[in-house]
């Protein structure tokens, strides 16, 4: 009945791993063809795959795990999806109803341990409830501010002996759940007035624009107003990065021009962003002269850290299209002279310290610089790949140097910062986009957290390209130790214990390539991406001493306080 409900919900793939409490469900999977199952090697990977499947398509990812250890292994992935508001349904087997509470074999209180990291959860009591619960779970996961939903299913509930008249509900109504849709018209008018009166505006957008399918509308709005636009780490691709109005990413490792423009702005339009501490730096010093318009579907995100002058609760696409319509209706336009002066100022900042006009890293070095690897990947893939990443310096370099023009192409764990996310995420994307180029940019630290999935790639022919920026260190940790702990590298080095990744890849039946020289970089990358139907593991030896810049000065810094290199700061 469960699998039938999933089929009727339109579920195409389940990412999962079997075990005792889930065996009735697995048997049902075996006896049908509509819903396909991908067997991972660790439940964490199943959650990341489903998560990235969702991020890259907008559909809800589905996970199936068994009780106890299966469920607990899924926790990291659920938390990852929760922090980034990704719709996902996780079905966990549970011990038989009559054993619950008795510390039965492989019993864990899944509803309890997942409670703080889910949007909602269900425990199925009777088989007859399954269709409605499944319907509700997908509805809750995908509407409003999306998020993961857990369905805990005791084994007896899925016993094939239990038959019930089956009907999959067309629609559900939950009386206690009415997600916001349209924004308040009066507030939207106020916001438009404020935008039209701005002299130093910045449009700052986050994952909500990507998730809320509003990239197109945002682009229209930015271009109509000719305002500068910056994206958060989660929002990259929400606005075309190669457009001249794009300032790059903002925040801790944001560009000089984005952070500085934010600091000096007089009006900020924040859309689907949440003023995360990795963006704002010290909240009390955040953008001292700015009036803030904040559009978000989640009322609890508004004025949580930074108080909004014009709060607008609503779906970002609906609010943006109302804003556009209002601006198109009126003849009023922002003060052209002021905007021109603002652009002049921004372009001057951009020339001074921007990342793209000329390289900000040492190009005379013998060693391969991680920045140039990302630039080369960008060039070789023509800026059109799906790129997932793990967590660390390589992630920040990718966010800075791979310039995303389209939404849903950049897939990373922003909120939780989960090492191990990258490879399964790339696989999840590849499942959804069989012919697309999917790259996982990773570090030799992160990749080892889910490396077992190389085997899953073999089983399901998922030809992802793994680009390992091998700096032989937990680079981001090392960078902080350089900057804050006088280079005392406590447990951020491996003492020659790294595996031979080439042999490892080959052991799983894949292609391994190592790059040690700058000159070979481009050619090797071309070779790698030409191998369309193979998994390629590229182990690229990069300069260990490189740091990610710009970097916010913290604690107590403002948006504009940044280190620009090892020797310069603002």
């Amino acid at each position: 009945m469960l699998i039938r409900a999933l089929r009727d919900e339109g579920v195409e793939y389940i990412f999962g791993y079997p075990g005792g409490a889930a065996l009735h469900i697995y048997d049902a999977i075996f006896r049908q063809q509509d819903v396909k199952h991908i067997l991972v090697r660790h439940e964490q990977a199943a959650t990341h795959m489903a998560d990235a499947y969702s991020r890259s398509t907008g559909r809800v990812g589905t996970v199936l795990v068994t009780s106890g250890p299966g469920a607990t292994n899924a926790i990291t992935g659920i938390a990852t999806a929760y922090m980034d508001s990704i719709p996902m349904v996780v079905i966990s087997g549970q011990v038989m109803s009559h054993l619950i509470g008795e510390d039965a074999f492989q019993e864990t209180d899944m509803v309890g341990i997942s409670r703080p990291i889910v949007k909602h959860s269900f425990m199925v009591k009777h088989a007859s409830e399954i269709p409605e619960i499944v319907k509700k779970a997908y509805y809750i996961a995908s509407t409003g501010r999306p998020g993961p939903v857990v369905i805990d299913v005791p084994k007896d509930v899925t016993h094939p002996g239990q038959t019930f008249p089956y009907e999959y509900p067309e629609k559900v109504k939950i009386r206690s759940y009415t997600p916001a849709t349209r924004g308040h018209t009066g507030q939207i008018k106020k916001a438009v007035q404020l935008l039209l009166s701005a002299k130093r505006p910045v449009i700052y957008t986050g994952g909500g624009v990507v998730q809320g399918n509003a990239a197109e509308l945002l682009t229209q709005l930015v271009q109509l107003l000719d305002f500068p636009c910056t994206n958060t780490l989660m929002g990259l691709g929400g606005y075309p990065a190669t457009d001249k109005r794009f300032l790059g990413m903002l925040g801790m490792h944001g560009t000089f021009e984005a952070n500085t423009a934010m600091h000096h702005s007089d009006v900020i339009l924040a859309v689907g962003a949440r003023f995360d501490d990795r963006v704002t730096n010290t909240v009390s010093k955040f953008c001292p002269n700015a009036k803030i318009i904040h559009v978000d579907i989640d009322p609890a995100s508004i004025s949580k850290t930074v108080v909004a002058d014009v709060p607008i609760v609503g779906a970002v696409d609906s609010v943006l299209s109302e804003m556009l319509a209002l601006i198109q209706e009126t003849d009023e336009r922002p003060d052209a002279e002021a905007i021109a002066a603002w652009w002049k100022q921004i372009n001057e900042w951009r020339d001074r310290h921007g990342l793209y006009a000329k390289p900000r890293y040492d190009t005379s070095s013998e060693k391969i610089k991680p920045q140039e690897v990302i630039t080369a990947i960008y060039e070789v893939t023509k800026g059109d790949a799906f790129v997932t990443s793990d967590v660390g310096q390589h992630q920040m370099f990718t966010a800075q140097y791979y310039r995303f023009d389209k939404p849903r192409r950049w897939i990373n764990s922003g909120g939780l910062g989960t090492m191990g996310f990258g490879l399964p995420a790339a696989m999840g994307v590849q499942v959804a986009h069989r012919d697309a180029t999917v790259v996982c940019v990773t570090g030799e630290g992160s990749i080892q957290m889910c490396i077992q999935e190389l085997s899953t790639c073999t089983q399901y022919h998922l030809p992802v390209k793994i680009i390992c920026l091998n700096n032989q260190a937990l680079g981001m940790v090392r960078q902080w130790q350089d900057m804050q702990y006088s280079s005392r590298y406590a447990e951020s080095l491996y003492e020659d214990s790294l595996p031979d990744f080439i042999k490892l890849a080959e052991a799983y039946g894949h292609v391994g390539m190592r790059v040690t020289k700058r000159e070979e970089l481009k050619a090797k990358l071309e070779e790698c991406f030409a191998l369309k139907d193979r998994v390629v593991f590229m182990d690229i030896m990069v300069d260990q001493s490189e740091h990610v810049y710009p970097m916010h000065v913290a604690p107590n810094g403002s948006m504009r306080d940044m280190y620009l290199s090892k020797t310069e700061r603002t």
Binding site: R115, K119, H120, Y177, A300, S303
Partner: protein, 163 residues
């Protein structure tokens, strides 16, 4: 400031733990909490008192509202309302103390609901302040055990918290 937040929620398993979990997860404090079904058996009414500035209370109510099981809620302290708490107190009542305690109970309009030769059990209702005042009046030395229900409240006049 002390606030009384009254929540109408689904009478569903796990609903209460989500509310309580929210408070511990986000570092909000709960001073008192009471919960019981309403005239509609599918709904529970939960009343909690908490301390916090305007900003914190706004966050608390927003996050409570986000919980799927929460149907509606109101901050009773925003308008005219009635609040009550019930308390049972076991006190020493021997010799001269006996009359003294009895007098106190009368002043606070409590009731003595159980008696032995050496103690009283007193029932008293009112605002939390009143109950505090009673305990102070009786004095720590005489008090053996205190059980309070926590605050419940309802808004005055026409305003109704319902579906």
């Amino acid at each position: 400031m002390r606030r009384i937040i009254s929540v109408l929620m689904e009478n569903a398993p796990g609903a209460l733990s989500r509310v309580v979990g929210l408070f511990s997860q986000r570092g909000y404090n709960i001073e008192s909490l009471t919960v019981a079904p309403t005239e509609d058996p599918t709904l529970s009414r939960l009343t909690l008192t908490t301390l916090g500035d305007e900003h914190k209370i706004e966050q608390i109510t927003k996050h409570l509202n986000k919980l799927i099981d929460v149907v509606k809620l109101v901050d009773l302290t925003e308008g005219a309302h009635i609040e009550r708490e019930l308390m049972l107190v076991k006190v020493k009542a021997a010799g001269a103390q006996r009359a003294e305690v009895k007098r106190c109970v009368d002043i606070f309009r409590g009731q003595i609901v159980d008696v032995t030769s050496s103690l009283y059990i007193i029932q008293i209702t009112g605002t939390s302040d009143k109950l505090d005042a009673f305990l102070q009046a009786v004095g720590d030395a005489a008090i053996l055990e205190v059980v309070r229900t926590g605050v419940s409240g309802i808004s005055r006049g026409e305003k109704v918290l319902s579906l």
